[in-house]
Symmetry: C2
Subunit: 196 residues, 2 copies
Amino acid sequence: MAEINDTALDLLFRNARSQNGWQNKPVSEQQLRELYDLMKMGPTSANCSPLRIVFLTTPAAISRLLPAMSEGNQEKTRSAPVVAILAYDTEFYEKLPQLFPHNPDARNWFTGAAAETTAFRNSSLQAAYFMLAARAVGLDCGPMSGFDAVKVEAEFFEDGKHRVNFVCALGYGDPTKVMPRLPRLAFEEACRIEID
Amino acid sequence: MAEINDTALDLLFRNARSQNGWQNKPVSEQQLRELYDLMKMGPTSANCSPLRIVFLTTPAAISRLLPAMSEGNQEKTRSAPVVAILAYDTEFYEKLPQLFPHNPDARNWFTGAAAETTAFRNSSLQAAYFMLAARAVGLDCGPMSGFDAVKVEAEFFEDGKHRVNFVCALGYGDPTKVMPRLPRLAFEEACRIEID
């Protein structure tokens, strides 16, 4: 079995921190493509892959998002080199003939409430892969849930078929703006082992 | 900037595959604790950490889950050394005074529909961290969404305050049971770059 070294585990899990401010250092399109090529490999239910990403890569593009962001998220959004809007396609099942080609019936598994639940669950899984993949290509993340989703969807998804899950700034974090690490639940608080 | 080597990226993203059968090889409690100690560090909104995990670690414990699993998931559940039920605590906000201690108001941010959405989104993020952390400690994953959630909740969460997100078998996969790799969406199909 291959082993992952501590450098990787520190960078992905142990030492990585959510960022609140950004260095003035650009992010390249090549990095965004490397990020996507890693994150797309993470598992989703029936390979449904509902996440859709809008990368805002200039101050002009980011300025279109600012009116929707909550006050506490204004400056850390404005100052980021890239902001990714992580959304899902509510009609993701239309791509199942391409993504799950061996079973033509798969498209019909997701109708009504199952579609929404599947899209939200699996786009959230993919959003987690996104953040770990960003760290893997050397970027820091600043995930944010404080925004007006209706405004974001009206500005960036005119087709009415996409829902925003959350927003994640990308770049090189300003270490002076990082908050102290918060506690986590102990194993016994979050987990239970059943033996019978 | 620290770099992650290709061995790690292959093991976490590129070469890892969802498993449909298992080798007769045990998983230790120590591995489950190492898995948790990595996954718990992944970011959640206001550190809310809603995921709760029930590890079924014996054939007797796993047999309690089988009546809820769909027919196609029976054998790959029964034959796994460990099956994890990935659930969320609908009253996760009760732990915010412990998890987000600097803001006593945080508990009140999550009421009504916001609680359910937050718990589902963030437990899904944590479930993705769970699968990548399992791979990081050398385990394979077999995530499954085909089951009767009401039955699982009745059997394993008598308090009525937990909802199952999905189920993930853990162990050492049988390579002869792995399906061919399915295609992923191209960057241009899933992503858009906005420059103005």
